[in-house]
């Protein structure tokens, strides 16, 4: 069972709908025992960073500890941004600090928000994208992005007038800036791969 961390933000229903659609049992919870028992955790997010971190509250330490102990974790959009050290959206806020980096505004020369389908250049070695080919389109909707400084992190980029980190992996910790649950069949495939990773299988 995969647990989607429930912290009362945005549209978590669509993430659950997507996992159910691919036949993967999923539960929406912030209960300590449920999160501990889960095969993997998903940190969704449609909200401002500071609001999301506050709403996550005491669950933050637990999610961080479980991820550090090896449980697969997938952060989506703001959930992805929360994996980093800090964000500067409406003031400075601390993130989970699982991956070194900062979340900063998209440069004002670009249209903000970055909203729509953009092509991600997939790095071969990120198993979350196994079987998807070299580049695929995903649906993005965000105004801030992560500057990744972690030497141990693998990164895949999208081009938005500059190279924007769209995917990050550090061992069992995964993050995607786009919305896999809103990226059609390609996005569902990413979630299937994550489900396989949670079961200890290799996605192909």
């Amino acid at each position: 069972m995969i647990a989607v961390v429930d912290y009362n933000v945005g549209n978590v229903r669509s993430v659950c709908n997507a996992f159910r659609h691919i036949g993967c049992p999923v539960t929406l919870s912030r209960d300590m025992a449920v999160l501990q028992d889960a095969a993997g955790l998903v940190l969704p997010g449609v909200a401002a960073f500071g609001y999301a971190v506050n709403a996550l509250g005491s669950a933050a330490d637990l999610v961080k500890q479980l991820a550090l102990n090896g449980k697969p974790l997938l952060g989506i959009c703001v959930g992805y941004q929360m994996l980093f050290d800090e964000s500067f959206e409406y003031g400075r806020h601390e993130g989970l600090g699982l991956i070194a980096g900062s979340v900063v505004p998209i440069p004002p020369e670009q249209t903000v928000p970055h909203m729509g389908w953009n092509q991600v250049h997939l790095a071969e070695e990120i198993d979350l994208f196994a079987g998807l080919g070299a580049q695929k389109h995903f649906y993005f909707a965000h105004s801030f992005y992560a500057k990744v400084t972690d030497a141990k992190a693998k990164i895949a980029y999208t081009d938005y007038g500059f190279s924007l980190a769209a995917v990050v992996q550090k061992e069992n910790i995964y993050g995607v800036q786009f919305h896999p649950e809103k990226s059609g069949k390609t996005g569902l495939r990413v979630l299937e791969n994550f489900a396989k990773i949670c079961e200890g299988k290799n996605p192909t």
Binding site: S14, N17, P113, W117, G184
Partner: protein
């Protein structure tokens, strides 16, 4: 670089998808849950759902239908029709929509756009404009409300500019003159609005064949094209539209 978007539209009345001509003579086009699932599966870039029964007042029952449609839709999903308050928007977003579209309520109270943008982010707020060519002022269009039944004194281009200032993140621009005719989009209208605003414009009304989509993007400057008749009644598939546009050099998510 962002792709241009193909957006099928479900006009829903009494829990069925319908489609008319110039907002009249509605005919049945199917079940919203089935059609939504089909378009998501076939590779549409977004889905729009407009409750056209709800023009006067928001209907609670629509929330349940939106929930059911959303269960099988894995692309961005916009819902509109009779939404008047941010509380109703919140309810619609919680039931599975990603964006909400407002029309009449924003004309009555433009501050609604600001309130919605501050609470949900402007990417959630779509300003729908039903435009009709002015009979008295050539080259101008007037804003109509209440599902097109009531003309106002507002000029479409001026209203679009104002809507952006108030917080709309996108404009869904429907030509009432072209709607359902399958004779092509009103690209003078699309161009006038897309030149005047910085937010994306979705061209709507009049799609009948593949080249109409191309014209709306190139001549009309649209960021996305919305259609109903040609997809519901089986003239073209989403795949055909995308391949056609990509072959003519437009960035698409194939």
């Amino acid at each position: 670089m962002l792709t241009k978007r193909i957006i099928p539209c479900l006009d829903v009345k009494d829990n069925r998808v319908v489609k008319g001509v110039k907002f009249l003579n509605l005919r049945d086009a199917g079940d919203p849950v089935e059609l939504g699932a089909r378009y998501s599966d076939e590779g549409a870039d977004e889905l729009v759902f407009l409750d056209i029964t709800a023009t006067i007042r928001f209907r609670k029952t629509i929330v349940e239908l939106v929930e059911k449609v959303a269960e099988n839709v894995f692309i961005p999903f916009t819902v509109g029709g009779g939404i008047q308050t941010v509380e109703q928007m919140d309810e619609i977003l919680r039931s599975g929509a990603d964006k909400v579209s407002v029309n009449t309520a924003a004309v009555d109270n433009p501050a609604l756009l600001t309130e919605a943008a501050q609470r949900f982010g402007s990417q959630c707020v779509v300003l729908a404009i039903d435009a009709r060519r002015s009979k008295t002022k050539p080259g101008c269009w007037q804003v109509c409300v209440k599902a097109g039944s009531e003309p106002t004194d507002l000029d479409v281009v001026e209203w679009a500019v104002k809507g952006e200032k108030f917080g709309a993140g996108e404009i869904l621009l429907t030509s009432m003159d072209a709607d359902g005719t399958k004779a092509g989009y009103d690209n003078e209208l699309n161009k006038a609005v897309s030149d005047a605003v910085n937010i994306p414009v979705i061209a709507s009304g009049g799609a009948g064949k593949l080249e109409h989509l191309y014209d709306a993007i190139i001549q009309g400057g649209a960021d996305a094209v919305l259609m109903a008749s040609i997809t519901h009644f089986g003239n073209c598939t989403i795949k055909q539209m995308k391949e056609y546009l990509a072959n003519r050099g437009i960035a698409m998510n194939l």
